[in-house]
């Protein structure tokens, strides 16, 4: 009785700790702007003479701290009517354009996904013909460029002053806001869910186990079988983790989350142990309720399949082009299915032998 109470208390404490962690984590990270990016003011001067464009422009470098969403609003303020249209690009230091916005409207907003902490260059380029303007967008974004219609007179979207000679000054205000990605919530949720599930399992086991069932009894043959099962599982673990280390060192695992592969290896080793022990009648102790365990395995399998479907549908299974930690759900689903089938087949064989 004392042990039962202790186990229930342990389970409750685990759940409470997980809930407390959730509350603290969500409150400190929800909608958090990790960097106060502020507002930049630019002034670009350019002149058009004899069909030639001369530009004196400024650009800015913004430092975005990590994965998240960046929102920019741009307000163009032309001192005089320009002879060129600006195209503002947000570029990584390696030259990759992550977002763009054209200056054909006075106020524009854009939002783009930031996948890594880096310096991003904000600059405007100017175009004195509609065709040049369209070509520049085509390099960055073919789909959007295909929707741009340059009229026969060379105008675009009502802008008719391409190439108008003179000196122009353009001022614009760029307001940048950055918010952290929700990816951390998913990982935190997975960890919290694990501890809540573990806590619930401890409580259920404590409530449903009868006195005497705590000390599991295995006969001498079963002990031998379990020893062999541990040996085979250990061997599989050694081989798996050695290969994991070698492949990781050779950079062959870029498409996978290493933490997911590590947990998958542990799950596979457990599968080897359990499969051998179940098949050779060494898994269940003399006091184990086989039917109860079969039902539990069935529920766990269903839960894993549901989690697997959710991770596929929500896109959590692939993060930044590689299999995420949720790869474990796939492995876990397969393992529990295998164990469920083995237990079922063994039950049928045992019934025939009776």
């Amino acid at each position: 009785m004392k042990r039962k109470i202790v186990n229930i208390i342990i389970g409750i404490v685990m759940i409470l700790v997980a809930i407390a962690f959730t509350l603290v984590y969500v409150n400190t990270n929800k909608g958090k702007i990790l960097k106060s990016t502020g507002t930049w003011y630019y002034t670009d001067n350019y002149s058009i003479e004899n069909g030639e464009l001369n530009v004196s422009k400024t650009n800015a470098i913004i430092d975005l701290p990590g994965e998240g969403i960046c929102k920019m609003s741009v307000k163009w303020d032309n001192i005089t009517m320009p002879g060129a249209l600006p195209l503002m690009t947000i570029t990584k230091e390696n030259g990759d354009v992550v977002a763009w916005i054209s200056g054909d409207s006075v106020n524009s907003e854009l939002e783009f996904k930031v996948d890594e902490a880096a310096n991003y260059i904000v600059e405007s380029n100017y175009y004195i013909s509609g065709d040049e303007f369209k070509e520049a967008i085509e390099i960055i974004d073919k789909e959007s460029a295909s929707k741009i219609i340059i009229e026969e007179d060379g105008s675009f979207d009502g802008f008719t002053d391409f190439g108008k000679e003179g000196e122009w000054t353009t001022q614009y205000e760029v307001d940048v806001n950055f918010s952290a990605a929700g990816g951390n919530f998913k990982r935190a949720g997975a960890i919290i869910g694990f501890f809540i599930g573990l806590g619930i399992a401890v409580i259920i086991l404590a409530i449903t186990k009868n006195k005497g069932e705590y000390k599991e009894k295995y006969d001498e043959r079963q002990t031998l079988v379990r020893g062999k099962a541990f040996k085979y599982a250990f061997a599989v673990a050694i081989v798996y983790f050695s290969m994991l280390g070698i492949f990781a060192e050779a950079d062959l695992l870029q498409k996978f989350s290493i933490s997911g592969l590590i947990i998958s290896g542990i799950i596979i080793s457990i599968c080897v142990y359990a499969s051998y022990a179940i098949w050779n009648d060494g898994y269940f102790s003399l006091s184990t309720n086989k039917r109860g365990l079969l039902i539990s395995f069935g529920f766990i399998e269903i839960a894993n399949i549901v989690l697997m479907i959710i991770s596929f549908v929500s896109g959590m299974i692939i993060e930044n082009g590689k299999f995420s930690f949720f790869l474990c759900n796939i492995v876990s689903s397969v393992v529990f299915l295998v164990l469920f089938i083995i237990i079922l087949v063994k039950s049928i064989i045992d019934r025939r032998e009776d």
Binding site: K217, D219, E220, R221, Q222, D281, L286, D350, E353, D354
Partner: protein
């Protein structure tokens, strides 16, 4: 090698494998493995089985010389 002596001694007392296993304190599959010859029990288990079936070690576990 199959242990037919054990099987017949068990049948003589009208005991199923499960019944014998419960009385001896092992799993049914262990009794099955011993009868099939898939497992060699320790001396302690042999003694426990003999006690339950009322036989001697020689009667149940000694191999007949051909």
């Amino acid at each position: 090698m199959k242990n037919l002596k054990l099987k017949s001694a068990r049948a003589a007392l009208d005991l199923s494998q499960q019944d014998l296993a419960d009385k001896v304190g092992v799993s049914r599959q262990t009794i099955n493995a011993i009868e099939k010859g898939d497992y060699n029990p320790t001396i302690n288990l042999c003694r426990d089985i003999c006690k339950v079936l009322g036989k001697t070690l020689d009667e149940l576990f000694w191999e007949e010389e051909i």
